[in-house]
Structure formats: structure tokens, C-alpha cells
């Protein structure tokens, strides 16, 4: 037991003395959260739009007012004719131009329908889509107001309501994904590097010749990273809550339990990688390519799994982060209890067990 304690102390000292490791451990999570939180957004803020109002009547001006009042848009230019449209898009600032047809109000009262044309810069198709949807929604809202105040119209009205993430804030969605990415980074990448470092420097030989049991070596190497990862989860949570105002509906206890489970998954992956890789570079490359990329791309962190081709959807099932994401999003945004997420939890436990067994087996086969 004394030997084990010494091992953990030594590991902490080494981490504490290595500035690079410290930066990755504690700087990275904060940096990533800030970048993802502030920079990468799916919602639109202050998109510059232009208006070409050929009608200049009371209805069109009310709609223009509503658009300029929205946080999403900023009216950048008032055009006077169609000829200017092209030039404005070429400049690149303007994402959308809203065109009101001539006699907009008159058409509306006479025939009950008037047309607004939305011309969008689709060089960034995602953004174009979002901008259009937002505009549609504003106009649609206004149309409904009109209908309500005047006579009832026959027809189907769509009432849509977004649940659990009403502001559609992408940061709410990113935070769980970010926790997964950071835990993978800290737990898997850092442990695999630190274990292969011992191999490279020849310390592992001595450890294996010593009476220390192989699984004690593994646990001793891994335990400090478990502690640090929990600290990281805590940091991210605090930042997410107080800097970005991400809601947290569910149980903190369950959240931390699931996080620890995921950390153990990541650690077992790290140990497994280090048992395959012989030097730090290999360990790093393997961790980045095999762990980090799929965690970012295939877990549903950024791209929805449902819209991937079937083969990728199948592959996503073996990515631990996918399940962790479902779990954390459930707990944070929906307040899901263990009864709802037990399946995902079970799958995660399964994956973890497989990798623990694999890496123990690999590691035990003495050296070589």
C-alpha cells in the first residue's frame, strides 16, 4: 500500500512539474469552452441584411421594424432598386436581402396574399438556411397577428415550440460534447502519453522487474488523471453555468457519476493505446486519430448522427462519446433520471469493461 501511495505521489509531482502537461490539463478545457461557446454558434446574431422596400407602405414598414428589432438581424442597407442587389452581395457583408413587392399592403388587403422575396447569400449554406428560417419566422409571426386581429382564416396553422432548449442556444448543446472531448483529451491522451513515456525512458522495465503488480502500476498511473478529470468536469460546469448560463435541470450526483464512468472509459482507452504504442509520438497520433476525431465528428457533438450515411451511423455506436452525449444532454437539459438513461449507461459500462480487459491482458504480457 505504501508503494502504491508513493507511486501516486510521484505521478502528481511529475504532472505538477511539467508545464506543458499543466497547460493541456487546465488551460485547454477553459480555452475550448470559450472558443466553442463564443465563436462556434449555430444560431444567428446580428446578421447583416439589406431591405429593398418597393412598397413603402404601413405593412412593409412594420415588418421591417420587427426585423430590425430582432437580435438576429441588423439592417445594414436600404436598397432602392434590384440592380443594387448583386453589388451588395459581392461586397460580402450582407447575408440576405428582403424584397417587398410593389403595393404590398394593397395586395394583402385585396387578394389576401402578398409576397416577400428573400434573396440569400448561399456561399455558406448553413448560415443561409438559418437566416431564411429566422426571417420566415418573424414574418410568419406577424401574419398570425394580422389574422388574429382581423377575420379568422381557414387553413392549417403550425404552432411550433422547441422543448428543453428554447433559446436554441448552441452552447447548451456544445457543453456536453465539450465535456466529452476534454475528458477524452485529458484522460485518454494524457495517460497514454505518460505511460508510453515510462516505456520510452526505460522506467517501465524497472517497474515491471519490481515486486509492484502490473495492475497497481496501471492504477497508479491512471488515478491522478481521474482526479484531474473530475476537477475539469467541475470547471467546465461552473464556466458553462455562470459564463454561458447553460441550464442544469437534472441531478448533479448522477451527472458526476456518469462523468466518472466516462472518465474510466477514456482512461481504459488510454491504457489500451499505451499498451499498443511504443513511444509518445505514436501514442499521441493514435489518440488523436482514433479517439479525438471520432469524438468530435461522429459522436453527434457537432454533426447530428441521424443525418449521417448509414455506415457512419453504425460506426458511431462504438464511440463512447455518443452515449455519453445522450446521457449528459438528457441530465442537463431534460433532467433525465437513471431510469431513462440506464440503457446508454449500460452500453458505456460494457465498452469500458471490454477495454479494461483488453488493456489488462495486453499489459500483463510482461514486456514485449
Amino acid at each position: 500500500m505504501n508503494s502504491f501511495k508513493g507511486f501516486v505521489i510521484k505521478e502528481f509531482k511529475q504532472i505538477y512539474r511539467d508545464t506543458r502537461t499543466l497547460v493541456v490539463l487546465f488551460g485547454m478545457p477553459v480555452l475550448m469552452l470559450l472558443i466553442f461557446g463564443f465563436a462556434i454558434r449555430n444560431e444567428v446574431n446580428n446578421a447583416k441584411v439589406g431591405v429593398l422596400d418597393l412598397a413603402k407602405d404601413e405593412v412593409s414598414s412594420v415588418i421591417i421594424q420587427k426585423i430590425s428589432a430582432s437580435k438576429a438581424f441588423q439592417i445594414h442597407a436600404y436598397l432602392t432598386s434590384y440592380d443594387e442587389v448583386e453589388a451588395y452581395f459581392r461586397e460580402g457583408d450582407i447575408k440576405e436581402i428582403i424584397v417587398f413587392e410593389k403595393d404590398f399592403a394593397r395586395n394583402l388587403t385585396r387578394s389576401g396574399s402578398a409576397t416577400i422575396q428573400l434573396i440569400t447569400d448561399a456561399t455558406d449554406p448553413n448560415l443561409a438556411n438559418i437566416v431564411q428560417t429566422y426571417t420566415n419566422a418573424i414574418v410568419g409571426d406577424y401574419a398570425q397577428e394580422l389574422n388574429a386581429s382581423s377575420m379568422p382564416v381557414v387553413g392549417i396553422k403550425v404552432h411550433s415550440k422547441m422543448l428543453y432548449n428554447e433559446e436554441l442556444a448552441s452552447v447548451n448543446l456544445f457543453v456536453p460534447g465539450l465535456i466529452a472531448v476534454i475528458l477524452m483529451l485529458v484522460s485518454a491522451l494524457m495517460t497514454s502519453i505518460s505511460i508510453t513515456k515510462e516505456k520510452e525512458m526505460g522506467n517501465m522495465e524497472i517497474l515491471l522487474v519490481s515486486p509492484l503488480k502490473p495492475n497497481h502500476i496501471i492504477i497508479g498511473k491512471v488515478l491522478p488523471y481521474l482526479v484531474l478529470s473530475v476537477v475539469n468536469v467541475f470547471t467546465i460546469l461552473v464556466l458553462a453555468k455562470f459564463v454561458f448560463g447553460v441550464p442544469f435541470v437534472g441531478s448533479y450526483l448522477l451527472f458526476f457519476a456518469e462523468s466518472i464512468l466516462f472518465i474510466v472509459t477514456a482512461l481504459s482507452l488510454g491504457v489500451f493505446i499505451s499498451s499498443v504504442a511504443n513511444n509518445q509520438q505514436t501514442a499521441m497520433m493514435v489518440s488523436l486519430v482514433v479517439l479525438l476525431l471520432p469524438t468530435i465528428l461522429l459522436s453527434g457533438f457537432i454533426f447530428p448522427i441521424k443525418s449521417m450515411p448509414i455506415p457512419l451511423q453504425v460506426i458511431s455506436n462504438i464511440i463512447p462519446a455518443k452515449w455519453f452525449l445522450v446521457i449528459v444532454r438528457g441530465i442537463m437539459l431534460k433532467g433525465s433520471g437513471i431510469l431513462i438513461i440506464w440503457q446508454e449507461t449500460a452500453i458505456l459500462i460494457g465498452i469500458t469493461l471490454v477495454f479494461i480487459t483488453l488493456s489488462l491482458k495486453k499489459f500483463k504480457v510482461r514486456l514485449q
Binding site: 509531482k13 526505460g202 522506467n203 519490481s210 510482461r366
Partner: protein
């Protein structure tokens, strides 16, 4: 118990269709300095790994400190020390911390540890650098420290894998003086080396070629048998016959 520290009989290690160690039988007496010579790729390291429990043999028998390498490797581990050619100290820890760590993994309790720490720092004259990181120490100091650490738990046998690689002749000389001291206290020293002058310091020398032991005797007897006056000469004669390349 016999008076043999290490005893192997037909020890063999096969990797795929490559026989790294081919049927070697050696006897190492307690308290002697046993020189284990061989060109690169001759199988020295593999043989050493089998004796220290890092590799399991393909066939043959071996007893280290009276324990069987197959069934009693845990007991062997408690009774041997090992120093690798990389020295294997932690560069980002201080000498004191290295001593405490390695002492700890060999199961020394806190009292023994602080005693050993003081004793080693003093005898190795590390007092002034005990708070410095090992990475900043000269190679010779690291080597002294690594050797001291390899015998921190007072083992019966210590394995030294090319312990003097890369250090200057004076430091090498001092190092061998320490080896003598340790051997005199009754510890068996099993050492591999590339330096033929070092072979002369050993009680028994074995020369390994292509996985086989081609010669094994005291340096004086070897010289008589091969009718020459240097071990180097014998070594070159035997190693030239090797079929394996340098790998």
C-alpha cells in the same frame, strides 16, 4: 540451498522462427561478479529479461536466487535488483524523490526509507544537489544514483545491463569500485558490458554468440584456453564467427 545464485539449464527463447537465446546453461556462484559478454544482437538482453522475469522462457529451466522463473517470479522480483542501460531515473524528480519512489515500490516502509535516503545522499555525496532535478545532473552522478537505487532493497542478486555506457574512464573506474564493494558484501553481480577491460574485473566471464554461450570461465583460465593474453582477442575471435548481423 545450493551456493548458486543463478542456475540455468538449457534456457531457450524463441520468437517466431528466430531463436534469440539458444539452450544456455550457466551457473553463477553467490557473491561473484559474473560478466555477460556478447555482441549486439547475440541475445544478452533477452537472456537477462528471462532471468529478471520480464520475459518467460520458451523452454529450459532457470533458478534465480533459488526460485523458479516459471512459478516463483514474484519471489524472484523481491530478491533481485535491476539497473538498465538507460539508468531509468525520473528526470523530473530530485535524487531524494527518486530514492523515495523506488524504495517505496520495493516495499520499504517510511522509517527504512528516510534512513536509506539519508545514507545514500551522504555516501553518494549528493548533498548539494539533492533538491535539484535528476535531469540536470551529469551522467556519472545519475549512474551512481541508479546503481544505489537498484540495490536499495538489499537484494541477493543485482542485474546490471550495460551500466557504464557513455561515461568517461575515470567514472567507469569508480563505478567498478562500487561494484566490488557491493560484491564483497555478498551480493551477486550479473553484469553485461561492451568494454573488454571491464571483463577482466569479473570473477567469471561468459561470451555469447548467436544465442549460444561459446566460452565461460574465469578471465585467467579463458586466456590460457585460447592462448592469448586479452579477453578482447577471444571476444573478437568468437564474435567473428557469428552468423547473425548486428541488430
Amino acid at each position: 540451498m545450493s551456493d548458486l545464485a543463478i542456475q540455468t539449464d538449457g534456457l531457450t527463447k524463441v520468437f517466431g522462427n528466430f531463436t534469440a537465446v539458444d539452450n544456455i546453461s550457466i551457473n553463477v556462484k553467490k557473491g561473484e561478479i559474473f560478466g555477460f559478454l556478447g555482441a549486439n544482437g547475440a541475445g544478452k538482453t533477452t537472456a537477462m529479461k528471462m532471468l529478471t522475469g520480464l520475459l518467460s522462457p520458451s523452454s529450459g529451466d532457470a533458478k534465480v536466487s533459488g526460485y523458479d522463473v516459471y512459478s516463483e517470479s514474484e519471489l524472484i522480483k523481491k530478491n533481485i535488483g535491476y539497473m538498465s542501460q538507460k539508468f531509468s531515473l525520473y528526470d523530473d524528480l530530485t535524487p531524494e524523490e527518486n530514492i523515495r519512489f523506488y524504495g517505496g515500490i520495493y516495499g520499504l516502509d517510511s522509517k527504512q526509507l528516510s534512513h536509506k535516503r539519508k545514507e545514500l545522499i551522504e555516501s553518494l555525496e549528493l548533498g548539494e544537489v539533492k533538491k535539484k532535478l535528476v535531469g540536470s545532473l551529469p551522467l556519472g552522478w545519475k549512474q551512481k544514483l541508479a546503481f544505489a537505487i537498484s540495490i536499495i532493497h538489499e537484494p541477493n542478486i543485482v542485474f546490471l545491463d550495460e551500466p557504464t555506457g557513455g561515461v568517461d574512464p575515470i567514472t567507469r573506474r569508480q563505478f567498478w569500485e562500487r561494484i566490488y564493494q557491493v560484491a564483497e558484501s555478498g551480493v551477486t553481480v550479473f553484469v553485461t558490458t561492451h568494454y573488454m577491460d571491464e571483463a577482466e574485473y569479473c570473477d567469471t566471464v561468459s561470451i555469447m554468440v548467436d544465442g549460444k554461450i561459446e566460452a565461460m570461465d574465469s578471465p585467467d583460465n579463458l586466456k590460457k584456453t585460447f592462448e592469448t593474453n586479452s579477453i578482447e582477442d577471444i571476444f573478437i575471435r568468437l564474435a567473428r564467427a557469428a552468423k547473425r548481423g548486428d541488430r
